[in-house]
Symmetry: D2
Subunit: 337 residues, 4 copies
C-alpha cells in the first residue's frame, strides 16, 4: 500500500500517518519527493486499511499494491485448473462446447435439443429451470420440473448438464439434479449465494456481470474459493455500454486478461455477448481464437416460439454449422474439439 | 408494437408477419412507406412477443410502444404515492432525511450515532446488519445482533430504522426488527428477493443498480408491486462509468425523470453517489434542488475506524452542518425539513 | 512515480530498473515488501517515462503520483480565476447565465431571442454560427453571416456573445466577432484547435467531451494555458453512458470535483446534459446548488421550428421562469444573480 | 418515422400532429391502439423533422425508421467496396496487415522498422508524423519531416504508407506524401476535417472514436462520402468503458455488425484496442477470426525508448511471430495472407 500525501501536507500530518502505520504493526517507508511525500506500508495484506488511511489529514489518496484476490490468482497457483464434469475435462487442450436452450420448456423440447446438440458435437447440455427475467410478467422457468427434465435429458444423451441457480434456497435442489451450477450475470455479486456455492463439491459456472470489472469477477470467484470450492469456471458474456447495436459489448480481451491473472478456465457466451443469432458464429470464432477454454451457446429447435432469448438462439442446423466452422479455428490455436 | 421490415423484404415476408399477428389474436396495421414497410400491432400489452417477431424473415427490428411496467408508472396511478414509516410521512412536502452508519458495529456506536443524527434533524436511522462486501475477507456485518441493536436504537431515539436485506432467507428476521427493508444496488435484480419483499406489508427502499437503466429500476419495483406490496421508495446512488474521480457517477437527472414516469417517492444517496465525504454536501444540495423526496446519508462518529465506507461518511458535526445547509435549498424548492 | 515489480521479479530485474532510474538522472527508492518490491522514482515530473518503465522485465505496473496538469490545477494557483467578458465578471459570487439559441438562424430570430433573454436576466448571449452536426445532411449554421448577426445582437442588447469555433482555420473570424470562443464537446481533444486558442487573448469556453474524464478536461485546458491563454471556463454537459432516458448523463459531481482540483470557473449546460426541455429546470437548480459558477442554456423563440436542438430548448417564457426559480436556489448557496 | 402519442393525448393533439405532417407534404398514417395512438409518417427521409414533432403537445416520443446514413450503408450498395492502395487490394479475400511505429522518430528508426515489417509480411507501413497527445508536454511528432521520412521508407520498401492527419490545414501536406490518410479516434467527429477528406481522391482510414456508436462511425464515413470520396476503411480500436484492466474495451462485435450494415472494409487495431503488447496477439487472432479485412499493428524496434505507445508496441521479432500465428487463423476463415 502506498499513501500519497497532498503537496502541502505538513510534517505533522506525515508523522501522524507514519505513527499510525507503526501502531497497527506494519512497517512504514516514507519517500520524500520533490513535490510530494509518499509513504509505503509493508506488511498489510488486505485492502481494509486503505479506507482508514484515506481519511487522515493531508492524505491525497492511497494506492493498493497487492491484488485483492489470492486463491483465484496466479500467484498462489501457477498451473491451470483442470475441472472434470462427468467425463468432460475442462481447461486443457480440448475446447468444451456447452449448448442448449435458454429455458427448459417441455420434455419434448429439451430431449429434442439435447439429442441434436449431442449429435453435432456438444460436450455438455445447458438449460434454464429457474429463470431471472427483467419483467415479472415473463416466463420464469419450469423450476423443479425443469431440473427433472434436464436430468432425463442427461440420461438420454450422456451429456452432463449445467443450469442456473438464482437463490441460495434453491442450491440443494439444483445440486441434486445438475452436474454444474451456473451463477447468472445479475447474480455475480449475490454474495450469500456465492457462499453457499463455496460449500458444495460440484463445479460452478460463474458469469461476469454486465458492469463487473475483471477484478470484480475474480473477487466473486474468491468468495466461492474462500468457502472451500475451487472448481470454478469464469465466463465472459458482455458488458453494458453505450452501444445499442448489440445487446451487450462482448469484451473479448477479458479472455486473455483473465488467463494471465488466474488459473481458472475461461469461457465465452457468444449468445448473450451479441444478442443476435447471426453474431454467434463470428463471436464464437473470435473467442476461440483469443484462447477461450470453452463456449456456452444457446440452441433452440424453434427459436421463434422460444419462451426466452429466441433472437440470440441458433437452430440445431446452424449449431452444426458453427461447430464445423470452429474446428479449423480451434486447430489454428492448438485446440482440439 | 411496431414491426419494421427490411428494405428489400418480399411481400411474402410481410404477409407472413401479418398472418402471424392475426393468428395470435392481435390486429395488424401495415404502413407501406417509400423505402420500408412497417406493421403496427394492436392489442399486445406485453413485450414477450417482441422477440418472437424479431425472428421472422424480412424483419429488421421490432420497436416496443408501451412501457413494460404498469403499476410502477404514472399511467395507472397519477397521484404521488405517500408512504408512512412510523410517524414519518414520505413523498409529500417534507423532505425525509435518513442517516446512520454504513454498518452497525457495536451498541455504543449505533446508539451514539442514532442520538447524534436525531439531534441534528434526521427523520430515520439507517445501519447495515447484513453487509454485501466485494471481498470475502471484509467485515460482513453483525447480522442478527446488528438487527437487535438497531431496534434498541429505535427504542432510544424514536427514529424508525431501515436496514438492508441481502437474501430471501433473511427477510423474516429483518422484517421482525426493521421498519423499512432496503434492497442494495447489487441486489436490484435479485428477483427472488424482490418477490419475497412483494409479499410483506412494510416499505421497501430500492436502490438503483450501478448499471441499471431507469427502466430496469422501475421493472424491479414492478416485481415487488406485482406480488402485492406497493410501498416502494426508489433511490438513485450512482452509475458505473469510465470516470474514476468519483466512486460512481451520480445521475442527478434520474430524480426528475423517475418522478415524471412514476408516482413512487425518489431518494438520493449522496454518500455512495460520490464516494468521498466532501462530496456529500454538494451532491445532497443538488439532489434536493432537483426535487428529491429524501436523502440517505452515511454518518459515523469516527469515520477513520469505520469497518466500512469510512471515506464517504460524515462525522456527526458535518452532518449537522449538512442539515443546516440543506434547509435553505429545500425551502428554495418548496420543501420543508 | 512508483514502479510495482511482479511478485516473482528476480533481483536482476529489480537492479535493472534501479540502474535505469539512476541513468536517467532520477533518484531511485526501493521498498522491499513481503510479497512485492516497489521502487519509488524521485525527480521525474512528466508521465512520459511511465511507459518506458512499464516495459522492463519483471515490472507489473507503474503508478503515477503527480497530476499530469500543472497550470490548470490548484497546486500552482490556489485562488479562483476570475474572468471578465465585457462587463460580466465570471467566477465570483455572482452566477453567470449564458442563454440563446443553439443556432443563429436569421436576424429576426437572434434579435428577438437576444432581447428576450436580456430582459429575463441573462448575462451573455450564445448562438451557433459554425455547427458540428452528426449528419452531413443537417443544417450546419450560417457561418460568417451568423457571426455578423451575433455581433449585431450584441450591439442591440449590450450582451457579450459566445459562439463555437470548430476548426483552427475559423479562429481568426470567430475571434473578430465573438467575446468568448466556445470549444464544443466533440472538439475537446482537437489539440491543434486548442493550441490556436492558447494564442489568443479572449476567454475560451471549454466543454467536456462525452467520454472525457475530469483529468482529460483539465489536460485540454492545460493545452490552452501552455500556449499562454489562461482565460478558460470549464463546462460539464453530460457523459455518454448506457442510460437512454436522457440524451447524456449529466455528471453533477464534476462541478465540485473540478472546483477542488482547479481554480478555473465551472459551468453547466443543462440543455445538452438532459436533452429535454423539461429537464433544464431541475438540472439547472441541481448545478447551481452543487456550486456551479454559471449556466449555459438553450433558448429559442419557437423551439418547434428550430433548425437544431429544439427539444432541449426553452421558450423565452420558460427561460424567464427558470431565472426566477434559480434566484432562491442561488441565494441558498450564497450566490447572487 | 413513427410518432408515439402519450396515453392521455387528446384528439386535438393527435389532429394537430396529423395536420402538421400533411402541411409538410408527407403522408400521415395513424394507428389507434388500445392504450396509445401512434402516427406513421411517410415520405420524410431525413431525421431533421424528428425533433420538430417531439415538441408537439401530447407527443411522447418519435421513433426513426430509416437509417440516417445512405451511401455508407448496404441499402445503396450491396457489393463490398474494394480499395486499392498502390498494389495492395483491400476488402477482398486477402487480409491486409498495416504495421509500423506509433510515431516516426528518426530516419534510421522508420527505415529499420519498415524493412523489418516488410520482411515479416506487412502490406503497408504506418507511422505518425502529426501526433495527437493528451498532454501538451508530450512529443507531438516530427510533422513534415516525419512525412518526408515516411515517403523515403516507402521508396526503400515499396510499402504504401498511411499516416494521421489531425487538422484540415495539414490535409494538403499529408496528401502529398501519404498513400492513405488516417483519421484518429479523437477526430472521428471533427466534421470540417472529414469534409476536407471528402474532397480528395486518396483512401481514408477512419478510426472509431472511443465513445462513438457504430451508427456514429457510419455517419462519419457518410460525411466523407457526401463530399465525393468513397474510398473509406473503417477501424475498430476500442471503447471507453469502466474496465481498467485494458486501455480500451475492444469491441470485436463491431466487425461483423459493420460488415452487415456497410459495404466498406473493416479493420481492427489490436494495439490501441488492448493497450498492452501481450494482448496484440490474442486480439489480432480474434479480429481475424471475426472476419476483419485487415489489421493495423504498432511495431517498434525498441519499444522501451519509443516516444509514444511503447507498452502496446510489438518488437519486430514478436511481429514476425504474430504474422506466423495469424496465417492459420486467416486460413480457417477463408482468408489468405
Amino acid at each position: 500500500m502506498i499513501i500519497v500525501m497532498q503537496q502541502n501536507a505538513s510534517s505533522e500530518c506525515i508523522d501522524a500517518v507514519i505513527q499510525e502505520i507503526d501502531r497497527m504493526g506494519f512497517k512504514s517507508h516514507p519517500i520524500f519527493g520533490v513535490e510530494r511525500t509518499v509513504v509505503g506500508v509493508i506488511g498489510d495484506k488486505t485492502r481494509d486499511t486503505l479506507e482508514h488511511f484515506e481519511q487522515f489529514e493531508g492524505v491525497e489518496r492511497v494506492l493498493p499494491i497487492l491484488q485483492p484476490y489470492k486463491f483465484a490468482g496466479r500467484e498462489v497457483q501457477q498451473e491451470e485448473t483442470i475441472i472434470e464434469v462427468g467425463n468432460v475435462r475442462i481447461g486443457g487442450a480440448r475446447l468444451c462446447i456447452i449448448a442448449g436452450p435458454c429455458s427448459v420448456e417441455s420434455e419434448s423440447q429439451i430431449m429434442s435439443i439435447a439429442l441434436a446438440v449431442k449429435e453435432s458435437g456438444a460436450d455438455m447440455l445447458r438449460g434454464g429451470a429457474f429463470k431471472p427475467r427483467t419483467s415479472p410478467y415473463s416466463f420464469k422457468g419450469l423450476r423443479e420440473e425443469g431440473l427433472r427434465l434436464l436430468a432425463a435429458a442427461r440420461e438420454a444423451t450422456g451429456l452432463p448438464v449445467v443450469t442456473e441457480v438464482m437463490d441460495a434456497r434453491h442450491v440443494e435442489a439444483v445440486y441434486e439434479y445438475a452436474d454444474m451450477l451456473q451463477v447468472g450475470a445479475r447474480n455475480m455479486q449475490n454474495f450469500t449465494l456465492l457462499e453457499e456455492l463455496g460449500k458444495i463439491d460440484k463445479p460452478v459456472f460463474l458469469k461476469r456481470g454486465p458492469s463487473a470489472t475483471i477484478e470484480d469477477l475474480l473477487m466473486a470467484a474468491e468468495y466461492i474459493i474462500a468457502e472451500g470450492n475451487r472448481k470454478i469456471l469464469l465466463c465472459e458474456r458482455g458488458l453494458r455500454t453505450f452501444e445499442t447495436a448489440t445487446r451487450n459489448t462482448f469484451d473479448v480481451s477479458a479472455i486473455p486478461v483473465l488467463q494471465r491473472l488466474s488459473h481458472l478456465p475461461v469461457f465465452a457466451d457468444p449468445s448473450h455477448g451479441g444478442g443476435h443469432w447471426w453474431l454467434v458464429d463470428p463471436l464464437s470464432r473470435a473467442a476461440v481464437a483469443a484462447g477461450a477454454d470453452g463456449l456456452m451457446v444457446e440452441v433452440h429447435d424453434n427459436p421463434k416460439t422460444a419462451l426466452s432469448d429466441g433472437p440470440q438462439s441458433l437452430t440445431p442446423k446452424n449449431f452444426t454449422k458453427l461447430v464445423e466452422n470452429l474446428k479449423s479455428v480451434a486447430a489454428a490455436v492448438g485446440r482440439s474439439m
